[in-house]
């Protein structure tokens, strides 16, 4: 009845090479460094953030190796306590740098900066983001901030932890000012990206794409941008104040000068709790794209998923006090913040149920992006539920500053954000570079990574519940079995990441040419060539329901999905006309 007709763009994606695409459009270094093309800026973010991830990851392996034995394998003294103290200071520097790099240079920018930049205008059918120059400025602010962070480490590595709590961060003899200045710049990069993306979604949606016909990734990016715009300035001023403390002795956070050190914690968490949603929301958006595509089924509960992103963004501003339960907050406030923390878990759970309902009775295809999404759901659920455990006031009094907290946030940050990012990277990789990676190896890597993450972080939950405090370079011997398990897990993760780096690099040069639509996605980025031309679309794509897969069928000739004419409702015979 229906005939395969290919797409409006012609039948050639896999065979004849496209004459020009955004990667080949301009070959000089300058054409990359000064590009205003959102796709190239996205790739630049991707490379920079992955480099940062590599450094942060190596530091993580140092931490885990140190903790193989109770007195510390790498940094330990020569017998006297004073020499241990000196050696352990290095450990403090290592975990501080690990945390700062992972939070500020990897998790916060990587999804909006790399995947958001690359995919968002394509999904809108637009030519670019609203402010391309601002976009490039954002990237360079990020780059300069990252370089300053590294420079500060060379000058005198910060040993405060990624949270910079006062008064220690005022007193410590290390280059806190340079580090904080770097993060301040990265923060402004984040603000400008947020403004740019929000305006883009408001003003550059094509005719026919109403708010509730947008792909859910765009809702997630929009909610993320809202948090970036509304929360980041506060941490900006907080870091300015911290710099003023050190440079001028302004005294706001310094108890010795009459200041209030807990005020720093309030300010810091007023940003940094919403910031955890800056990290997780875009990952959830990626999950909402991948699940229906690989279940060949319309997303379930579109409005609920879309609006729960906004709900998370808004409620996320009201829970920061759960980081300060035991740091001198009144019991009444503690109770209120505990209650609100319970509330914020609700919209997250709504999403999870809708994803499950989407998969229910779907024709699930277990390709790599989908495998990562499944592991996201498992890991994020563990992370979220341990978060609720911590949000319960009475439990947090016991668990605060133990390894349980470390386990919690690694489940959500690694198991959630990072796995979500990796899923998205595998999903859009063919679109970004026009090549397919080795599916089999990628699937096995995903399984190994899943095992590695659980082996690393589950023992941390247990050992934390048994009372092991966090941020210590040494520990009591009773905890050693858990610590060894955790370290083995970290090494397994390393293997998985090396494998991933290997097959992705390999695909760039030897991978099969990617078709226009390898997975059968229904949103607009699949309506253009892989990789897309400089101007994104050769003809303006027409907007439809992004989760309607009924007219997409797999065509072995191009090794990808193509549109078929939909049967008309009157059941009149359809003749192909293209």
């Amino acid at each position: 009845m229906t005939t395969i007709t290919g797409n409006t763009m012609g039948h050639t994606p896999a065979v004849a090479a496209k004459p020009d695409n955004y990667l080949t459009h301009g070959k000089t270094i300058g054409s990359w460094l000064f590009t205003l093309d959102h796709k190239r800026i996205g790739i630049m973010y991707l490379i920079t953030a992955l480099l940062a991830f590599f450094i942060g990851g190596m530091l993580a392996e140092v931490i885990r190796t140190q903790l193989l034995v109770p007195q510390g394998l790498i940094f330990h003294g020569t017998g006297s306590v004073a020499s241990s103290y000196a050696a352990y200071r290095y450990y403090n520097q290592v975990f501080t740098l690990h945390g700062i790099i992972m939070v500020f240079l990897v998790l916060i920018p990587i999804i909006p900066g790399a995947l958001g930049n690359f995919a968002m205008p394509l999904m809108l059918g637009a030519k670019d983001v609203a402010f391309p120059k601002l976009n490039l400025i954002s990237y360079y602010l990020y780059l300069v901030g990252a370089i300053l962070a590294i420079v500060s480490t060379v000058l005198g590595a910060v040993d405060t932890g990624w949270t910079f709590y006062t008064p220690f961060s005022i007193q410590t003899e290390s280059y806190v000012v340079v580090m904080v200045l770097g993060i301040f710049l990265v923060g402004f990069s984040s603000i400008f990206t947020g403004i740019n993306f929000m305006v883009t979604i408001h003003k550059l949606r094509p005719p026919g794409m109403s708010w509730f016909r947008m792909p859910l990734f765009l809702w997630a990016i929009y909610s993320t941008s809202l948090i970036q715009v509304a929360a980041t300035p506060v941490v900006g001023i907080t870091f300015v104040l911290l710099m003023m403390e050190r440079v001028m002795g302004i005294g706001i956070f310094n108890p010795a000068l009459g200041g209030n050190p807990v005020l720093f914690q309030e300010f810091f968490w007023f940003y940094s709790h919403p910031a955890v949603y800056i990290m997780i929301l875009p990952a959830m958006g990626i999950v909402s794209e991948i699940i229906p595509t690989f279940s060949r089924k319309h997303i379930f509960g579109y409005e609920f998923i879309a609006l729960s992103s906004l709900a998370i963004a808004l409620i996320g501003f009201l829970v920061w006090g759960h980081h300060i339960f035991v740091n001198g907050q009144s019991a009444e406030l503690d109770a209120v913040f505990s209650f609100l923390t319970f509330i914020v878990a609700v919209p997250s759970a709504i999403k999870v149920w809708n994803w499950l309902a989407t998969m229910y009775k779907g024709a699930i295809v277990l390709k790599t992006p989908m495998l990562y999404v499944l592991s996201f759901i498992v890991l994020f659920t563990i992370g979220g539920l341990t978060g609720v455990v911590l949000g319960a006031l009475s439990e947090d009094v016991v668990l605060h500053d133990t390894y349980f907290v470390v386990g919690h946030f690694h489940y959500v940050m690694m198991g959630g954000t990072l796995i979500g990012f990796i899923a998205g990277m595998h999903y859009w990789w063919p679109k970004m570079f026009g090549r397919m990676y080795n599916e089999r190896i990628a699937q096995w890597t995903c399984v190994v990574l899943f095992i590695g993450i659980n082996l690393t972080f589950f023992p941390q939950l247990v050992v934390g519940a048994e009372g092991m405090p966090r941020r210590y370079a040494s520990y009591l011997p009773v905890y050693q079995p858990y610590m060894i398990a955790s370290t083995i897990g970290a090494y397994i993760q390393l293997v998985a990441f090396l494998s991933m780096a290997g097959y992705l690099m390999h695909s760039l040069f030897y991978g099969k040419k990617a078709p226009m639509n390898p997975w059968g996605g229904g949103s607009l980025e699949w309506e253009t060539a892989s990789p897309p031309p400089h101007d994104n679309f050769e003809t303006t794509p027409s907007v439809g329901d992004p989760y309607d897969y009924s007219d997409l069928v797999f065509d072995p000739a191009v090794n990808g999905y193509v549109h078929i004419e939909k049967p008309v409702e009157s059941l009149a015979p359809v003749t192909a006309t293209h």
């Binding site: 004073a82 391309p132 220690f168 408001h202 900006g236 001023i237 005294g251 000068l257 009459g258 005020l263």
Partner: protein
């Protein structure tokens, strides 16, 4: 680009010349810019809001300090500055209007007047800062006035000066006590932070810098001046940036670049200047009119 003004064909061409490739119409481009600018200004407000929160926190916990220290500030110069900024806000609004209607001379004049207002504001403020410096009405350990707001002498604050030195690791009390603990065995759950009775700097933090001679001076007045300098300093920084940007507009306007077809930069800077004005309308009563 306001609706009321008819755009003739050449101006329409000007508008199209300034259209970036990813927008469909000049109107869409202008709206996107306006929305972006509003958001940016919202983040500016949030930047200040952190300081407003700090202000609220300290004012709630140290009302006596605020009432005492507020008397040092001169409400008259604060008020004059408020009037100057209001006037410059008016000239900036007129500038926007003249840009839209294509009155180029009036536009340049208004921009120049706005700049003048900004410079006048800074001049008065600099004088205040200078006087504060002379009287040692400063933040942290630099706070050491010799007369109180009532004109009576106060003894210099000595308690605070002892606290300025940041301990070097080698000499830090944490180290010393660790060394002395050396024999106590391996597992020492000890941090470099001293017990509360000693204070985090390792120096007895007896917060009684107030001088006996002036019984009205409460403890921790220096905190007020810390907040005062932060808030007004950040605001002055915004005024300086505003003056620079308006100067750039002035040059472009003298070159005749703005008219009904293209005036977006004037509009955006006008919005910015409005917010800078508004912040002062909050700062002035909060800092200068405490009693």
């Amino acid at each position: 680009m306001s609706e009321a003004i008819a755009i003739n064909p050449t101006e329409e061409q000007v508008a199209r010349d300034h259209l970036a490739h990813h927008f469909d119409t000049p109107q869409q481009q202008f709206d996107a810019g306006t929305l972006g600018m509003w958001m940016f200004l919202a983040t500016e407000m949030l930047l200040f809001s952190g300081l407003f929160c700090a202000y609220a926190e300290f004012r709630a916990t140290h009302p006596d300090v605020f009432r005492y220290a507020g008397q040092y500030l001169d409400p008259v110069s604060g008020l004059i500055n408020a009037l100057i900024l209001l006037t410059s806000g008016l000239t900036m609004a007129l500038a926007v209007r003249f840009a839209q209607t294509g009155k180029r001379f009036a536009l340049s004049l208004c921009l120049a007047l706005t700049m003048l207002g900004g410079v006048g504001f800074l001049a008065i403020h600099a004088k205040e800062y200078f006087d504060n410096g002379q009287a040692k009405l400063l933040w942290g350990t630099h706070y050491a006035p010799s007369v109180g707001p009532n004109g009576k002498p106060v003894a210099p604050v000595t308690g605070l000066t002892a606290l300025v030195a940041r301990p070097k690791p080698a000499a830090s009390p944490g180290w010393q006590s660790l060394k002395s603990l050396g024999k106590a065995g391996f597992v020492v759950s000890h941090s470099a932070i001293m017990p509360a009775s000693v204070g985090p700097s390792g120096v007895a933090a007896s917060q009684k810098p107030a001088a006996a001679e002036n019984p009205f001076q409460p403890a921790n007045v220096q905190v007020f001046f810390g907040i005062y300098f932060l808030m007004t300093g950040l605001h002055s920084l915004h005024v300086i940036i505003g003056i620079i940007v308006i100067g750039w507009l002035l040059i472009r306007s003298l070159r005749g670049e703005f008219g009904p077809g293209y005036n977006a930069p004037v509009v955006y800077v006008g919005m910015y200047w409005g917010v800078v004005d508004m912040v002062w309308m909050f700062l002035f009563p909060l800092l200068y009119l405490i009693h």
